[in-house]
């Protein structure tokens, strides 16, 4: 094996290993990944009511508020979603981004839970 062949082998291996690691480390926004849309402060989390066999099905909601109510009714909202208790259930990190319109600037917030 010549020096040139060995060098090529090493470089190829390096490229492939790098691509594999980068593929497994990439974040997907729909699986609890790092990138997330700006969260809605009026929303709640639910489980739909599915019947348990011949027994009735009941829905469940994560928080007692907010509930889906008409717009004219008073609302309850969470002012700072990163402090919501369900975020502390597992170790993760996230980056919240808010673009500043046509200025081209944006604000990034990096949140870590551990």
């Amino acid at each position: 094996m010549t020096f040139r062949t060995s060098l090529l082998t090493v470089m190829n291996g390096l490229v492939i290993v790098t691509s594999l690691f980068s593929a497994s480390a990439s974040a997907n926004p729909i699986n609890g990944g790092v990138e997330a849309p700006t969260p809605d402060v009026f929303s709640n989390y639910y489980h739909p009511p599915n019947r348990a066999g011949e027994y009735p099905g009941l829905g469940a909601q994560l928080y007692v508020a907010p509930r889906p109510v008409p717009a004219r009714v008073g609302h309850t909202w969470v002012t700072y979603p990163p402090f919501m208790p369900h975020e502390f259930l597992y170790q993760h990190r996230r980056r919240y981004t808010r673009c500043a319109g046509a200025t081209g600037m944006r604000t990034d917030v990096r949140a870590y839970w551990w």
Partner: protein, 131 residues
């Protein structure tokens, strides 16, 4: 000398490459596939059973971390325990009215429970939070 060192590096690279490829194969789609499988299998399943919690008057959801995968249930008899996959998870869109009528009413916890399911407390995974 330099060629030998490069060959050693090449072998190390090959081992690293093989181990990474093996890890990828073992994971078989990884977190994404598991999430999708759990979502699809839990779509039409109920989070509770036929029993309700008498103290609450209804089945009580127990929030567990979203990376929990299984739940243990215990009972009399043999085998006296079972490990069940935990498909249910809290999600974002409001699913509509929170009640579906059934043929029989829910039952309260019996005086002498024979299974932990009869206590009417059932685990639901918390949301990932990003969606």
């Amino acid at each position: 000398m330099r060629t030998t060192w490069l060959m050693l590096c090449g072998r190390i690279m090959a081992v690293a490459l093989l181990s990474v490829a093996f890890a990828e194969i073992v994971e078989a789609g990884g977190h994404h596939a598991t999430e999708k499988r759990y979502f699809l299998r839990g779509r039409n399943k109920s989070w509770h059973s036929g029993w309700y919690n008498p103290a609450a008057g209804r089945p009580v959801p127990l929030v567990v971390p979203p990376n929990a995968e299984f739940v243990s249930e215990y009972s009399w008899g043999v085998p006296s325990s079972r490990v069940m996959p935990l498909y249910q998870q809290f999600r974002k869109p409001y699913p509509g009215a929170g009640y579906q009528p059934g043929a029989r009413p829910l039952m309260p916890t019996p005086d002498q429970p024979s299974d932990t399911v009869q206590f009417g407390v059932h685990a639901i995974r918390g949301p990932w939070g990003a969606y």
